[in-house]
């Protein structure tokens, strides 16, 4: 068997209760449990978090920079999605 550096897992850490997990980096590991342990050892040595997710790197599909236009630009021609698009008379409250 050829030597291997083991599969890559992406690591996400929740720093505090109630906030979203944030990408921290990655680790190499044989399985999910080992990936969790490695992630704890590498990314949480100084109380960086309280919960860890590990995801096989090859399970992530990302948009690509070339698609950026087609993907994100249409939002700009739809200003009616933003509350500032609507004019509300002065004096109207809580809106």
């Amino acid at each position: 068997m050829a030597d291997t550096q083991l599969p890559v897992w992406e690591v996400f850490i929740q720093a505090n209760p109630g906030i979203a997990h944030k990408h921290a980096g990655n680790v190499h590991a044989a399985d999910a449990e080992m990936a969790l342990q490695n992630a704890r050892d590498v990314y949480s040595r100084r109380s960086e978090g309280m919960n860890i997710w590990v995801v096989p790197a090859n399970a992530i599909t990302a948009s690509s920079p070339e698609d950026q236009g087609a993907f994100f630009e249409p939002s700009n021609d739809k200003p009616y999605r933003h509350p500032t698009f609507y004019k509300i008379p002065e004096g109207v409250k809580y809106l």
Partner: protein
């Protein structure tokens, strides 16, 4: 062929401070230079564990031992961050390690010096990590996203390394005559290599212009070296150690220290592989890789077995 328009757009991004991300278009020379620099940096982190690991079992007390263990563990983590960041440029970690083991890739010249006494551990934390921080805080502002993010994380962790080293030196310098002599001896041996590890002087450092324009390099070697000296000399004075440079003097006008001539022949000899410990470091690294191989194989076999058990259940 890389067309001028792509390069123009790429350089415009860098000028406006937008980071380059792995899937973005980049010139081949940029990718190549980053792989070279980042892998060299990653290799330095893990080879750097060897001279310090030498003292874990012989640390003078439990406090020092726990600290040194934590520091060496950090270095392993730094190696991992940097290998990961390098992998985003489309090269595999297996290949990077092969380049290290075959001698094709370099690591920092500084780790080819021996750690003869306990005071060397103090000198490494104070001087070597100190010099590395100067370099790394500059690199954290670099243009490649994954490298810059790794640098930010690493710099946060390095400042403990720097302080624990200074603390070791301070205690020795305030101790018995023998302890003070030990601290001075380590200082004498590590001062010049630490100054040299920041790289050849600007007139001997090729293709710096393009690297600076692309924000692969943020500051010249001499500028970083000057800052390191300016900050470190007063730290030495404070604990009563003497900088081993008879030509060192403070220039009131410029506000900078001026140092004596650097022995660049020694630096290039060490880079070429003729330093005191080059052969030993490379052998230890290769041995560690070979001895660890069964662990990787066993971990994979165990994962496979458990996956099968889950299927059955």
């Amino acid at each position: 062929m890389e067309d001028a328009k792509q390069i123009e757009a790429f350089e415009a991004k860098i000028v406006s401070g937008v980071k380059i991300e792995p899937k973005d278009w980049m010139p081949e020379a940029y990718r190549k230079q980053l792989i070279r620099m980042m892998s060299q940096h990653a290799h330095s982190e893990i080879v750097g564990m060897l001279p310090e690991g030498n003292w874990i079992t012989r640390a003078p007390n439990l406090r020092r031992k726990a600290i040194l263990l934590a520091k060496v563990q950090d270095e392993a983590g730094h190696g991992l961050y940097l290998y990961s960041a390098t992998e985003t440029l489309g090269i595999d970690r297996t290949e990077l390690l092969e380049q290290l083991h075959s001698g094709k890739a370099k690591y920092s010249s500084i780790f080819n010096y021996p750690t003869l006494t306990w005071a060397d551990i103090g000198a490494i934390g104070w001087l070597v990590d100190g010099a590395a921080i100067m370099n790394q805080t500059a690199l954290a502002r670099g243009s490649y996203g994954p490298y810059s993010r790794a640098m930010v994380r690493i710099c946060k962790e390095e400042s403990f390394h720097n302080r624990q080293g200074y603390e070791i030196m301070m205690h020795l310098a305030q101790g018995t005559a023998e302890q003070k002599a030990m601290a001075q001896d380590a200082f004498n041996r590590w001062w010049w290599p630490s100054i040299m590890m920041l790289g050849p002087s600007d007139d001997k450092s090729p293709n710096s212009d393009q690297l600076m324009r692309w924000k692969v390099k943020m500051e010249s070697n001499d500028a970083i070296r000057q800052r390191f000296i300016d900050r470190t000399v007063p730290q030495a004075d404070f604990i009563g150690l003497t900088v081993p440079d008879k030509d060192l003097k403070f220039n009131e006008e410029t506000g900078h220290y001026e140092h004596g001539p650097i022995n660049w022949d020694e630096f290039f000899e060490v880079i070429k592989g003729n330093g005191p410990c080059n052969a030993k470091r490379l052998k230890d690294r290769k041995d560690a890789d070979i001895k660890g191989r069964w662990v990787r194989e066993a971990a994979l076999a165990y994962a496979k077995k458990r996956a099968k058990e889950k299927e059955v259940a």
